[in-house]
Amino acid sequence: MHLDEIFFKIMIYLLAAVISVPIAKKIGLGSVLGYLIAGIVIGPFALELVGSEGEGVMHIAEFGVVIMLFIVGLELHPSMLWRLKRLIFGLGGMQIGFTALIFSGLTAFFWLNTAQAITTGLILALSSTAIVLQTLTEKGMLKTRGGRHSFSVLLMQDISVVPIFAILALLANQIVTDTSVVEEGASGEGWQQLLIIMAAVAVIVVGGRYLAHYVFKLIAETGLRELFTATALLLVIGIAVFMDFVGLSPALGTFLAGVVLANSEYRYELEDNLEPFKGLLLGVFFISVGASINFNLLFENWKTILLILVILVGVKLIVLYALGKLFKLEKSHNMLFTFSLAQAGEFGFVLITFAAQNAIYDDFTAGILLIVVALSMLITPVLFIINEHVIQPRLAVTEKLDDDDFEENGHPVIIAGFGRFGQVLGRFLNANSIKLTIIDNNPHNVQYLKKFGYKVYYGDITRKEMLDAAGASAAKALVVAMSERHQIDKLVELAQKHYPHLKLIVRAEDVAHELVLQNKGVEGHRQAIFDSAIDMGVSTMSSLGYNKHQSYRAALTFKHLDKRFMKNLQQRYSKDDPHFLMETKKFSEHLENILLLQQKHPYQEMDCAWDTHSLIEEAKEGGDLSVK
């Protein structure tokens, strides 16, 4: 392929995505369906803009799934993964087992020989990690109970891809008895293989825990964004290649690496950098799935294909629903779980091709199955829509959302900016047992603070992805404690736009900035230096011999007057009025007068706590009223 041809193909793919996805999202179909339809449209059976290279593209684009599992791993702490073990191995194992058994039985009874039946059962038991995770993430349902159950099953399926490959190879051996290519003496090499796999896992865990940290720090300190992106990509691709080499699923390997790095302070930055690649590659993957559907074969055998499709989805729905019930999922969560996993998955493409190459399937059977798998993926977004718009509304009346699904994931307070100012603030909140997510863009701070046991993340918090990753949707308050004004304003705007529920407590640079923030409707804010300046004033007064409490009361008076003044100012000048600077000046003059007056008659107007003037006078007149 010539270079200009490659560019043309790239253009077609991107154009298809850019046109179809927004339309699909607008009419409520979700991005996945948009991509799939775009693939069909540009595919060999409609516009013929892309053709034979589709399979190769699909192979490359599958890497999107690998990145996605890495990112999912990043969001899953090891402890949480441990808590999911019952779901992964119990629920996931049973789903694969039962579904494979039923499909094997059905196909053996009606259609295929034993080897083909076992192969088909195993392949159709798998679901599509790419479509399901993408859709659940897009809809924000991954962290609900139903979403977590779906995820656990998908994870178990990814784990079982490798053994399934091994079984297929064994079956192929039985059929083609004279081949000596595959799995000669598999049991003898099994131990060796297991040792290699365990060593590989150990390399990832140890490397992720002890080495990655130093590498990221080194890269972050260069301050070059693209270098961090390159490192992140290198990490994921490197692990994928490594896993392939030792014979493990790349998706599983990167997922494991993600989990290991979930506690790293660079986790959000990694997520942030990989997100676009993941999205783009998955998009291309979905397009190529759409483009791969062989419509000629489909039209010739549409009755058979439709029948298989209905049986496939029907059986999966029943098995999933029963298992959901067995694992005590509430009805609305069980519906999400059931409807999300009722398709065949992308591993189906690989496994079917592999089986055909090893003469388990003839070309016709393989072709039919490939179409069934693709079509089942195509209708998944439709199943999601049915669940969301037809089934859930009926259940919504009887069940309410359980809040703690969100609780365990996010801390109530996010502190943006953890320099000297943010640190004091953080210590204060920490001392009051308030859980914090801290984000800072200085790798030095991050490093230093980690030593003191803080949970600090490195990244640019003025980007929306960062707020998402920091758990802004579950947090209650965002403390903006950075020092640069334009960054503060940017973040405030971002938070107000996307997370109106967040209480904003914002550090203001000066009086003018404070006023601007007030006009933006920000409730809490403080001039960063204001209070400490007054505190120093109190110390100064004390050193001059004023009594300590008197100095303290003077500071309080000053602060309250200032607050009242700011309120007046804000009421008078609503938006973007330059006059407030003049007013500010007037204020300081006004204050000077007050303070002068104060010196002559201490606390006359503002603070009459121990004012005895009038009392003494009345006493002199002969009254006896003294209570002070």
């Binding site: 009361r553 309080l556 309250h560 706590a609 009254g623 009223l625 209570v627």
Partner: protein, 167 residues
């Protein structure tokens, strides 16, 4: 005045939403003890019945309410020969105590009846030309059952209603 008192909080909540009743929580309004004297005096002028609602700390009121007395009841406003701002208003204590009622008697741990301890309040009211009503006292708050608290809440509401209707 609620601070760390559970029963106090419940009593306040029982009457907070009643018509013509204003709850002025000093610890919420003045976290730094910096009392806005003019505002407080304005509140006093606007109401006919004043209730000092507080837990009974060391046989008296919590510190912030004492500060309120020191600052708000100014000479020339609340007392003094030309001061009539509070004249004729009804005033009373509503207090909660940890000790049971039986302890506030000769021979009991607290030795004197509760009204003895409340004398400074009674005298302050007198000095301000106000009419001091008998106190509403909830004793032994640490040992109260939910039902008993419910009863006290109802009683407090009824008291509030009769005060409102007679003034």
């Amino acid at each position: 005045m609620e601070q760390k008192s559970r029963v106090n909080k419940e009593l306040i909540e029982a009457v907070a939403d009643m018509e013509h009743v204003t709850v002025n929580n000093l610890y919420e309004r003045y976290p730094d003890f910096f009392i806005d004297v003019k505002y407080e005096q304005g509140l006093l002028l606007k109401h006919d019945v004043i209730i000092w609602h507080h837990p009974f700390y060391w046989y008296s009121s919590p510190a912030l309410l004492k500060e309120w007395f020191d600052l708000v009841l100014e000479h020339g406003f609340a007392y003094g020969k030309d001061a009539f701002a509070l004249k004729g208003k009804q005033v009373m204590n509503c207090i909660t105590t940890g000790g049971r009622e039986s302890t506030y008697a000769p021979g009991g741990l607290n030795r004197y009846p509760i009204t003895d301890y409340l004398l400074p309040f009674k005298q302050s009211a007198y000095l301000c030309k106000m009419n001091y009503l008998p106190p509403f006292v909830v004793h032994g708050v640490h040992l109260l059952t939910e039902d008993e608290i419910e009863n006290y809440k109802k009683e407090y509401q009824q008291l509030m209603m009769s005060l409102r209707n007679n003034n």
